[in-house]
Amino acid sequence: MNSLDQIFVTLKQWLLSYVPTDFQPVGSALLSIVAIIAVFGTAFALTTILERKGLGRIQNRPGPNRVGPCGFLQPMADAVKMLTKEDIVPYAADKVLHYLAPIVLTVPIWLAFAVLPFGRNMSAIELDASIVFFFAVGSASELAVFMAGWSSHNKYSLIGAMRGIAQMISYEVPLVLSTVPVLMLSGTLNLNEIVNAQSGFSFGVGQWNVFTPWGAAGFLLFMIAATAESNRAPFDLPEGESEIIAGFLTEYSGFKYALFFLGEYLGLFAVTGLAVTLFLGGWNAPLAFLNVVPSWLWFFAKFGALIAVFIWARGTVPRLRFDQLLNFAWKFIVPLTLVNIAVAGIWYFSSDHLAYAVRWLICAGIFLGFYELLGRFLSLKRAPRTYRYAE
């Protein structure tokens, strides 16, 4: 059990034993980089095909199933198509920025994976403030979206870029704030330690943050903010294809477009990995007796489940309008994250005085009360209607 759990760690150490001591840090980093790129590159290819198949199933059709067995070579075909397409740069474009934008989007996102713990003893670098690092490298994507939209010299691109920046800035606030309860109650900014804090079992069930009221609420808020942050439906306004063609991607084609595509999915993977780490117990098993399953398998199982939720949402909900999107962020999500921080405080300080169930109900009640109240406030003018008939 232990050997299978630590198989990748052992493998890395074995490989490193062939490297001279002076170069071991570099070798270690390189091995981690190769592993991350291989795993998440594959995950990207797999997600694109599974997303299309899943959406197809939701829509009563089988999805792509022609290339390779069950269509699973479709990503290869897409890649070949993308790479062989003509790379068109508009005449009036700002050539340098137009060229740089996909790189600026894609490269920093890879860095975010460095701090995620994929399994027991399996994070590429151990940082004291790893969650700050995570959000810091994520901030480059706003610049990339702006560069893409502005440099394309296209009106749709510009509108898309403006939407994109405003949306990302607005949702970065709740994204960070929704992690605050976790940081408060774990007492650390280190993702490995946050996972360790969730490693216990009570009554055989994992002590994940999501099983507490503030954790469940935080998870919900985090997922909503993460959807917006990664420009996924229903918050895909920057690309809103029925309104502004393809938003900031309008003038991109070929390899650059593929890079944007890759960057967006990697961003999604990164926040999903963070959600798993913060709320779903990271690589911990849900039930005590399931500890025999390797930890990294648990991480990727949870990761896949969350990705499926994103795909499910994409197949279900229509898109918001831009002002509604920002209202939703500032008048609903941000206040709720603040309430959630307070709830987490109540949860922490009431631990000595109240029974677990009472504590749970009180905290959940406070949050749900605010949820309902703010929701009502947000949808004041809207209601299902009744209709009259003429004979």
């Binding site: 700050v132 480059a140 003018k381």
Partner: protein
């Protein structure tokens, strides 16, 4: 030695980005170069074992301030290149002169001071835990003041930038349209078209 190479690369990167940020013609390019320079500065912080500060620097400067300045540029039609600005103009000479003057004024004392060639202690770190504890104990008052300042800055920025235009009252109110005569005044057409 690898340390020094990294440091030199960082310096070259940061300074050239900084020069680009203040000298490029298009203000959007300037703002983007500034983001690069700030990122280079953060790398230099990392070299000084100040991880938290480095990440905070990126988060605030790259993620917020450069985006804000881009917005400011766009909102003020700043992308219009100054019509007279040549790539190399008189202000370049002024700029170089000022830079060299200031740099000399700062660097000459630094490099003439021998005490500054001291070597750093082997280990120095400020774990996040410690920073948090300090903020909540020794630096509590400054932190509270800082919170107040940030709040007032937020409100102030909104108030200053707020439009004088009255907000639209209600999105369901429809501008009255006068293009069509109203239904009542419409003359009825009497012609019976169904006669064969």
């Amino acid at each position: 030695m690898p340390n020094k190479i990294t440091f030199c690369l960082t310096v070259v990167f940061t300074l050239s980005a900084a020069v680009a940020a203040i000298r490029l013609r298009n203000p959007v390019h300037c703002a983007l170069s500034a983001a690069l320079a700030f990122a280079g500065l953060a790398v230099a912080f990392l070299g000084l074992d100040a991880e938290f500060i480095a990440f905070a620097q990126i988060l605030v400067y790259v993620g917020a301030i450069s985006i804000l300045s881009i917005f400011a540029v766009l909102l003020t039609r700043g992308t219009e290149v100054e019509p007279t600005a040549a790539v190399f103009s008189r202000s370049w000479i002024t700029g170089i002169a000022i830079t060299l003057g200031t740099a000399a004024a700062i660097l000459v004392p630094i490099f003439s001071s021998s005490i500054l060639y001291k070597i750093a202690p082997a280990v120095a770190s400020a774990p996040v835990q410690m920073i948090g504890t300090e903020l909540m104990t020794h630096y509590l008052l400054p932190m509270e003041v800082m919170g107040l300042l940030l709040t007032s800055a937020l409100i102030g920025a909104v108030v200053i930038a707020m439009s004088d235009r009255p907000e639209k009252k209600d999105d369901s109110s429809h501008p009255s349209v006068t293009r069509y005569p109203s239904a009542e005044s419409k003359p009825a057409t009497k012609r019976d078209l169904t006669t064969v």
